[in-house]
């Protein structure tokens, strides 16, 4: 176990040592700690998650709000999560492909926006795939003193469905953008010799028409799909405890799917949505102890439940109710969660309610997520 901790610290140190970390940028775009490696152990603020806008590389952490390790969570729990998509070269990539729009015929030299007549419902599967590793420490209502677990998990958006209106809007906004960027006003900026790249960029991005145009296009792209199906799988390994004569062994294995039905509600804000989620999870759970022998044993369980969430521009409320149908009993998790973005650089995530096996006790969690900013925006000379 200590060996793993040292490796984790070492790897993290290398990353920091190679990084020119900008603390302001590093705190931007916080979202709830929700890596599958965390969710498997029921310590994430929400067990019903969607892989939305994951950082190429992130470190997540969760602490017990009360600081009382006997309640469940012990010391800080870490997870690393990364998206392979951003680290490999993308072939035949363009704006439409990235947004899951497909041509109605084989590729040709000149393509019109109207040639994109199909929507690839599986287009997000590779883009949104992520892998997470976690190191956790807690009692999990099983042990008397906190014990360590190592988890690995993966998740992705298996399919997404956009409405015809949403697709038409994206195509219409693209055509408007292309028209604006071909206007004499814009061409003059690029035709003028002697301007630096920064001067050209500042001039273009300061144009009123440009700013309104990109805002409209971004808004049309940020509308949630009408329906999305996310899947995840995770495994957690118990690292053992020699003081209790417990060997390292199987911890937990889970595979689950989450459906998200999202209704756009402009009256709730520019990005206002009401979400109705459903979740189904198979769990092979080694977090059970035989009362007589004290040995760990494995039980199979099926989780099923639902969640309703209200998404405003800076505020998010959610409530979820999940039933765990196990071999010998049935348990419930009833949790509310909240996320509030105070500024672009600081967001609070919280959750409270009843977790599985918490025997009526209220559980409270507080989490943050931050990204590592390895480099500032690049200015490269390819000739060097």
């Amino acid at each position: 176990m200590n060996c793993f901790k040292y490796i984790s610290v070492f790897v993290t140190s290398i990353l920091f040592a190679q990084s020119d970390i900008n603390p302001t940028a590093a705190l931007k775009n916080l979202s709830p700690p929700n890596a599958p490696a965390f969710v498997l152990m029921d310590i994430a603020p929400s067990n019903i998650i969607v892989p939305d806008n994951i950082q190429a590389f992130s470190i997540q952490t969760i602490n017990a709000f009360s600081g009382n390790s006997t309640d469940g969570l012990g010391n800080t729990n870490f997870a690393l999560e990364f998206q392979p998509y951003w680290y490999v070269k993308r072939e035949k990539m363009n704006f439409f492909t990235y947004n899951n729009l497909k041509l109605d015929q084989p590729e040709k030299e000149t393509i019109s926006v109207n040639d994109y007549t199909h929507y690839n419902i599986f287009g997000d599967a590779w883009k949104k795939a992520s892998i997470s590793l976690a190191l956790m420490n807690g009692t999990y209502n099983v042990f008397e003193v906190p014990q360590s677990y190592v988890s690995i998990g993966a998740r992705t958006r298996l399919l997404s469905v956009k409405t015809q209106n949403q697709i038409s809007e994206i195509k219409a906004q693209y055509a408007r953008y292309e028209q604006l960027m071909s206007s004499p006003e814009v061409m003059m900026v690029f035709a003028k010799p002697g301007l630096s790249l920064e001067e050209r960029n500042t001039t273009i991005t300061s144009l009123d028409g440009y700013q309104a145009m990109v805002a409209d296009l971004e808004e049309s792209l940020q509308l949630r799909p009408l329906f999305a199906l996310d899947v995840a799988v995770a495994y957690s390994h118990f690292m053992g405890d020699k003081s209790q004569n417990l060997d390292a062994t199987f911890g937990r294995f889970g595979v689950w799917a989450t459906g998200d039905l999202a209704f756009y509600m402009p009256t709730m804000g520019k990005h206002g949505h009401v979400h109705i989620y459903g979740v189904l999870r198979y769990l092979r759970d080694g977090l059970h102890r035989d009362l007589d022998s004290g040995a760990l044993r494995i039980e199979d369980a099926i989780d099923y439940g639902a969640k309703i969430a209200l998404e405003f521009d800076n505020l998010y409320f959610g409530y979820e109710y999940i039933t765990r149908d196990a071999d010998k009993n049935t348990e419930e998790r009833s949790m509310g969660s909240i996320r509030y973005k105070i500024t672009e650089a600081f967001t609070i995530n919280g959750a409270f309610g009843k977790n599985f096996i918490s025997e009526g006790q209220t559980v409270a969690l507080l989490g943050i997520q931050w990204g590592l900013d390895f480099n500032s925006s690049v200015s490269l000379d390819p000739n060097k």
Binding site: A26, S58, V113, S182, A191, K192, L221, G371, S377, V378
Partner: protein, 133 residues
């Protein structure tokens, strides 16, 4: 500035290769001399991911002795969660961007380019210049 030997050949053509999640718009201008402040001819701006073929400079007229500039302006519409992710998207552009010119004495020539990315505006500009001799 790089040079490309076109002699009396025509037409001289441009093609821009790029693989990116952004919307790129490419602008190409011809000037009589390096000191000219306005272009005498230009290509209609185009998205090189949607218009992938060769495009004739100055409608196929001879361009010997002219200055040729190509600028590509990219705007990302991804909701980047952080600058690290943005920089990885930029790396993809840097690795795939290939402005080429053809029709000269020695066939296809890949132009070099300078570039700069701007995370705050999610934009990226690449610029090439060539003296056609």
């Amino acid at each position: 500035m790089e040079t490309y030997n076109v002699g009396a050949n025509s037409p001289i053509k441009l093609k821009v290769g790029i693989e990116t999640e952004a919307i790129p718009m490419t602008y190409a201008f011809l000037y009589h001399t390096i000191n000219d402040q306005s272009a005498y001819s230009y290509l209609t701006p185009f998205d090189p991911t949607q218009n992938t073929g060769w495009k004739q400079l100055d409608n196929g007229n001879a361009v010997n002795g002219k200055i040729f500039r190509v600028i590509s302006f990219l705007r990302f519409f991804n909701d980047f969660p952080d600058e690290t992710t943005f920089d990885l998207a930029i790396k993809q552009v840097k690795d795939t961007y290939e402005p080429s010119i053809n029709g000269g004495d020695y066939g296809v020539f890949n132009m070099s380019f300078k570039l700069q990315a701007f995370f705050s505006t999610k934009t990226y500009i690449l610029e090439s210049a060539l003296e056609l001799t």
